[in-house]
């Protein structure tokens, strides 16, 4: 919301010499954030000029350029060269003899744009003929200002070339712009901002002159009939509880609005249009009451306020035909022709036009929720809807209508009817019994009772004593529907006293338990992966519908049960991921496309596993805590979201260098990564081959489980077809780990095993096995047969080649034995080894070489 300083000063006393920045700062102190400052940053010379002549030439770039000679009075070239100003101008909306606004070299336009004489289109341009936008007067870029059009011919006739245009156009005036929070609808008016500024100055007596304090005629039966027939209020709140209608007849709609009004509207960021429209806007800015002006001739009967009927349509002022909803509140002519969506936008048909002579002014009050819904439903945000949504003072309507009538008759001729319609179903807000110590207890500052009462009275509250000293009855002013209970009043006291008087006291909890095991364990996992050379990234969880196909995930796999967004950012990716790897590959691809050939990434994040169709999450009442059963239903409707670690790598995991060649990332790096994560959490895991789990390579995928068989995850090389479908580098490897499973398994005290200090005995054994026998099985068999003294089994060589029987390979193991109580003899060790080999032979067909 904007407010020119000069306008504010009409309603309140500005501090002597206060600049726009000072006023904005004062408003900040009472809780109105500064949004912007307009005007006041223009440095002259900016003068009135008269176009004496111009030479119009079409340029090669297609533009038409006018080389003008402009009388700018005793300025510029007249002073230095004794001739009129020569200016090159790109606009063509003026004629010889027009008065225009000329900015001369040396001036600085808004935005720090310094003007100097410069060559353009082959000639020196000694300044510029200005458009409204260039001097911060409006948003009009189409052509330059012609003063007779801007100010009207009467005022233009009084002007002389060389007159200061800064003063003439009020360009030195500053306009502040404050950000108004949704609870302070009344600040969408100069009245409200002036009132707040007055509070910021300590609310001095007589320092606020309420523009709504005008004498209004009593309502009577002679006014235009208005009927409110709201058959379907929203949440039992009537859609319209106030409707003031006034009629002005015989105005000349072609008369322009007065220049001061147009200037103020421009300063407010609004384009002047016509007298009737400008007056309604001006009064709205002044008092915060949106008004609507109807051409009385288009009305055939009483105005009826009602809800829309199914299927009704309306073409609004913006030319859009809208299908109305039964919740839309309408203003209608006799209940039939729709004049507009109440408080949002009028219809095109009843619009005031140049032929209008009789005008009906509507000043009404509508239910904020109803207006908000209509505004959103039709995606139509108007100055009116903005205000009604946030709450308009329901008691300001008569004054607003009166001001509009006065302005219309003063500037448009015509006469006001003596009929005054005022349908008033407003109720005065309930009084609140306020504990005067409550603001202090909420804020943490001791406010004396008298100060609390004084502040509330300054704000416009009625404060009356009760029987006891500690409580008062407070009735909020009509423009403050947001003041309802103790905390609301506490905020008012705090902000008027100044938030910066609130001390800073560090709270002292009685002692927390630190991070949970799961929180610590997740950090361990992330740090272990980063320590192992993987770089953490965070990817969006949105995935494409056909991603499961491209990942070759089989029908029926639970990873195909994805949650769908009703309003995805992109229709390309409407689903939420069911695995981290499925989005992590996006980051891999992006890195590769940026020229990183060797990439190793990980991400820890949630995946979304509905496990079936979504249950409807109930929406219980918020007046009290829902029942345990209701809450259980709310929680149960939220799909499972396990935390996963995804890991991917492509290119070299070890670089080539002076030490030798590099090593490409392969399936084993992924298995090792999963094993190290498990080891970091001291969780033993088992690894077996998994041929059927996509998107992994059928021959290069490990399934990792806990010892009890609980799935931990998969690791290995991705399927070549998947890589092709996802445009990933060949031999890209990946792993996905269910972190929650590992964390749950690690949430126990590890029990230390004793270890022997006797010397170890090592023995090597080479086993010939069929190539399709997994090494894991051979090792398991060796372990099973070697006895209690076995300490370690290490596979130190794998050989496949000509010297072996076809379809076989040789696995060379080093077995380490150690006894708890003695040094083992060679015979003992050989015995253990033979026992181990025997079991391996039986289990896997291994033959010792």
């Amino acid at each position: 919301m904007r407010a020119p300083l000069t306008w504010l000063a009409e309603y309140t006393d500005l501090a002597p010499g206060a600049s726009g920045a000072d006023v904005a700062a004062s408003l900040v102190s009472v809780g109105l954030e500064e949004e912007d400052l307009h005007g006041g940053d223009l440095v002259g010379p900016l003068v009135v000029g008269r176009v004496l002549a111009f030479d119009e030439q079409k340029q090669k770039n297609g533009k038409t350029i006018r080389f003008c000679v402009v009388d700018v009075g005793p300025h510029g070239q007249m002073l230095t060269e004794g001739r009129a100003q020569e200016i090159v101008c790109g606009a063509t909306n003026f004629a010889v003899g027009d008065l225009v606004v000329v900015v001369l070299p040396g001036a600085v336009l808004p935005g720090g744009f310094a003007i100097s004489a410069r060559k353009t289109y082959g000639q020196i341009s000694n300044g510029m003929i200005c458009s409204e936008a260039e001097i911060g007067l409006g948003s009009d870029h189409d052509g330059i200002i012609v003063l007779s059009r801007l100010l009207g011919p009467e005022r233009a006739a009084d002007l002389t070339p060389g007159d200061d245009a800064i003063a003439l156009l009020g360009l030195a005036e500053e306009t502040i712009e404050a950000n108004v929070t949704p609870d302070r609808g009344y600040c969408f008016s100069v009245r409200g901002l002036a009132r707040e500024y007055w509070h910021s100055q300590g609310s001095p007596a007589g320092g606020f002159r309420d523009p709504a304090a005008v004498t209004t005629p009593e309502r009577n039966e002679r006014g235009h009939e208005v009927r409110v027939e709201d058959a379907a209020p929203i949440s039992a709140v009537p859609g319209c509880d106030r409707f003031v209608a006034r009629v002005v007849r015989g105005i000349d709609a072609t008369r322009p609005s007065p220049a001061w009004m147009r200037r103020r509207l421009t300063q407010m960021g609004m384009r002047p249009i016509s007298l009737a429209v400008d007056v309604t806007n001006y009064v709205m800015f002044a008092l915060g009451q949106p008004l609507h002006a109807y051409d009385l001739d288009t009305l055939s009967g009483p105005i009826v306020v009602r809800r829309a009927r199914a299927g009704e349509r309306l073409t609004t002022l913006d030319g859009v035909e809208r299908v109305l909803d039964v919740e839309d509140l309408l203003i209608t002519d006799a209940g039939q022709d729709i004049l507009g969506v109440a408080g949002v936008m009028g219809g095109a048909a009843s619009e005031v036009g140049s032929s209008t002579t009789d005008v009906l002014i509507e000043a009404a009050h509508f239910d904020p929720a109803s207006i908000a819904r209509s505004s959103r439903r039709h995606q139509l945000v108007s100055e009116a809807s903005k205000r009604f949504e946030r709450g308009v003072d329901p008691q300001v309507a008569p004054a607003a209508a009166q001001l509009a009538v006065e302005l219309l008759t003063a500037h448009g001729g015509g006469e006001a009817d003596d009929g005054v319609t005022d349908v008033d179903d407003t109720t005065s807000p309930a009084a609140y019994r306020l504990d005067v110590t409550q603001p202090g207890r909420i804020v943490g500052v001791d406010y004396p009772r008298e100060r609390v009462v004084q502040i509330l009275r300054d704000l416009g509250c009625e404060v009356t004593a009760t029987g006891d000293e500690r409580h008062v009855e407070v009735r909020a002013p009509s423009w403050r529907p947001d003041l309802v209970d103790g905390p609301d009043y506490a905020e008012e006291v705090a902000r008027i006293e100044g938030y910066n008087t609130i001390p800073s006291i560090t709270p002292t909890p009685t002692g927390g338990r630190g991070l949970t095991h799961a929180q610590k364990a997740r950090r361990v996992v992330a740090n272990a992966l980063a320590g192992a050379g993987f770089t953490e990234v965070l990817t969006y969880p949105f995935v494409a519908e056909d991603l499961a196909d491209r990942l070759m995930i089989s029908a029926g796999d639970e990873r195909r049960h994805a949650v769908r967004l009703a309003n995805p950012l992109s229709d390309e990716r409407p689903l939420l991921r069911t695995s981290v790897v499925s989005t992590l590959v996006d980051a891999l691809r992006r890195n590769v496309s940026r020229g990183h050939r060797d990439v190793a990434l990980f991400e820890l994040g949630m995946v979304f596993r509905p496990g079936g169709p979504l249950d409807q999450a109930p929406i219980p009442s918020v007046l009290t805590r829902p029942s345990d059963e209701a809450l259980r239903q709310v929680y149960a409707a939220v799909p499972a979201q396990p935390r996963r670690a995804g890991i991917v790598a492509s290119g070299h995991i070890e670089h080539a260098g002076w030490w030798g060649p590099g090593r490409p990332a392969d399936w084993s790096d992924m298995v090792v990564a999963v094993r190290s994560v498990a080891a970091a959490l001291a969780v033993p895991v088992l690894v077996v081959g998994d041929h059927g789990h996509r998107p992994w390579h059928p021959g290069r995928c490990a399934r990792v489980t806990l010892e009890d068989g609980t799935l931990v995850g998969h690791a290995g090389e991705l399927h070549p077809k998947v890589l092709a479908a996802l445009d990933l580098p060949a031999r890209t490897v990946a792993a996905e780990i269910d972190i929650d499973v590992l964390i749950a398994a690690s949430d126990r005290a590890v029990q230390a095993l004793p270890f022997s200090t006797y010397p170890p005995a090592l023995t090597d054994v080479a086993l010939l096995v069929r190539s399709d026998v997994p090494a894991g099985e051979v090792e398991a068999a060796l372990r099973a047969g070697a006895g209690d003294c076995l300490e370690a089994v290490a596979l130190f060589d794998v050989y496949e080649g000509d010297r072996l029987e076809a379809g076989h390979r040789s696995l060379a193991y080093r077995l380490t034995f150690r006894a708890a109580d003695r040094t083992l003899t060679t015979d003992e060790v050989n015995g253990f080894r033979d026992a181990a080999v025997a079991v391996a032979a039986q289990a896997t067909g291994a033959v010792q070489r």
Binding site: G444, A490, A494, P507, R523, D598, R625, V634
Partner: protein, 369 residues
Amino acid sequence: MSGPNTDYDPVEVSALDPAAIEAASEDALAAIAAATSLDQLKAVRISHQGERSPLALANREIGALPPSAKAEAGKRVGRARAGVAAAIAARQTELEAERDERILVEERVDVTVPATRRTPGARHPIELVTQRLADAFVGMGWEVAEGPELEAEWLNFDALNLGPDHPARQMQDTFFLDPVDSGLVLRTHTSPVQVRTMLEQEPPIYIVAPGKVFRTDDLDATHTPVFHQIECLAIDKGLTMAHLRGAIDAFVRIMFGEEIRTRVRCSYFPFTEPSMETDFVCFACHGAGAGDAGGQCRVCGGSGWIELGGSGMVNHKVLRACGIDPDVHSGFAFGLGIERALMLRHGVQGMHEMVEGDIRFSQQFGMEV
């Protein structure tokens, strides 16, 4: 040549002639000094200290001398031999030291050649900043609370006094799940974690809730549909806005430095009343508003202050919806966006870097910020 009974004239035993011994000794010492390697010294030792060396031969002659001459000759030869032995030992030590030194020189490598076999990994700075803040609050006795990202509408909106008509509940801000009447959304803030905590725990409650949140904004320099927040919630007896300020001040000190001051002003949020907005003194220009190279401070845009974020005393309606009696307990809540904190504290230029997953971004930060 000589017999025991003949008159002995030492002068006549040439090998024991003092001048000869002196000469042999000098020869030996010269050879030792001239030895420039351990091999040469070894040869010198054989020729001047070995069995066939002049001094060894001389020593052998001593036995042939008459007893009266033995002592003097023995002394002379012994001195010479000791001198040679000492010289050899000294030279040996010298040459060994030289050799050791030389080996170290020869073994020198160029330590500036790159030798990274494996690029080190890194954590994402969003996670690191979150950890930093969480750890500091845990240090003050708070706990870290978490909740799901896909959340019930009731927990994300209704319980927080964001009624059905609240603008945030419109499709242009919030990701709704299909079907829309499922009552599920991608959480738009971490506040549902507050609600869950209040519903399930008895006060006192002191929690920080970090996490991922979602809004239907397209990615640009200042927006991303997926971002991170951290929120603090305290519910206890007698908590006031002064405690809220205290907690915020602690927060700001952790992120931006011990000396950073704050200022507060009135604001509005549906879930708090009274509500508050906090600014802190720009850590870059210390409130002066001027940049290093003149002109405006890049970090705060010249105002000298940086907006931290919204906060307030938990709205009584929220407390009631969560089963907490506002006549007994009060509380406060505040929060901020991690991405913004990262942009401010670490000069990150825009959202793109944080969400694209380019390894160069995370790798700048290592494992702790």
